[in-house]
């Protein structure tokens, strides 16, 4: 193995160990720290957006602009794939 892969493997393991020990600072699974934003959404998703489904109210109303970006991503992926394969017709 030449020097480059050894250096890459070394850097890779250092970052992996570094990340591994940093996740123990996060809040334990199942007990999120502060939840003020999500509680606000759960409590008045029905009267503010008129839907029963909290997740859809976040996807389309509270954070609807993300879903517009989302739709653009799918639209650009389709435009990209069709552009790359624009010459396959006989």
């Amino acid at each position: 193995m030449d020097k480059r892969t050894i250096a890459a493997v070394l850097a890779f393991t250092i970052v992996a160990v570094f990340f591994f020990f940093s996740i123990f600072l996060l809040h334990p699974w199942g007990a999120p720290g502060n939840v003020q934003m999500d509680n606000h959404i759960i409590v008045n998703t029905q009267n503010e957006t008129g839907t029963n489904n909290g997740v859809t109210s976040v996807v389309f109303d509270y954070r609807g602009f993300d879903t517009l970006g989302e739709a653009t991503i799918l639209f650009s992926a389709v435009a990209g794939v069709m552009m790359i394969f624009r010459r396959i017709k006989e």
Partner: protein
């Protein structure tokens, strides 16, 4: 330690995917590596939003006696993961169409051989 098992799984998935993306020479294996990183990050987002004994934040026929908002799972990470999954599909479609074209043009999927053919 037991509450941190999902995060350990997240870190393992991310770094397995990163290993495949960096060290594998076959193009398809790099694409698979990126998909593994992507599912690792999605798992991370979802584990952030879980509440002990939580129910999905949907009010249609809620199991009786669940006190909201304490016993409901956080909705925002699920919306973020939905966006991230569709991003994964879009990136995957683009990468695979590029790989198909590169294979059609160079006849090989090995990065070293492609670099040699290019000169």
């Amino acid at each position: 330690m037991i509450e941190y098992i999902p995060y350990v799984a997240v870190i393992c998935m991310i770094f397995i995917g990163l290993y495949a993306a960096i060290f594998r020479r076959n193009l398809i294996k790099m694409v698979i590596g990126i998909t593994i990183i992507e599912s690792g990050v999605n798992l991370f987002l979802i584990t952030l939003g879980y509440r002990e004994g939580g129910v999905a934040p949907i009010y249609t026929s809620l199991p009786p006696g669940t006190t909201y908002p304490e016993q409901m799972v956080l909705p925002v990470p699920q919306a973020l993961t939905l966006t991230s999954i569709v991003i994964g599909v879009a990136v995957l479609a683009l990468m695979l169409s590029l790989v198909m074209h590169i294979y059609r043009k160079y006849g090989t999927l090995d990065v070293q051989k492609i670099r040699r053919l290019k000169e």
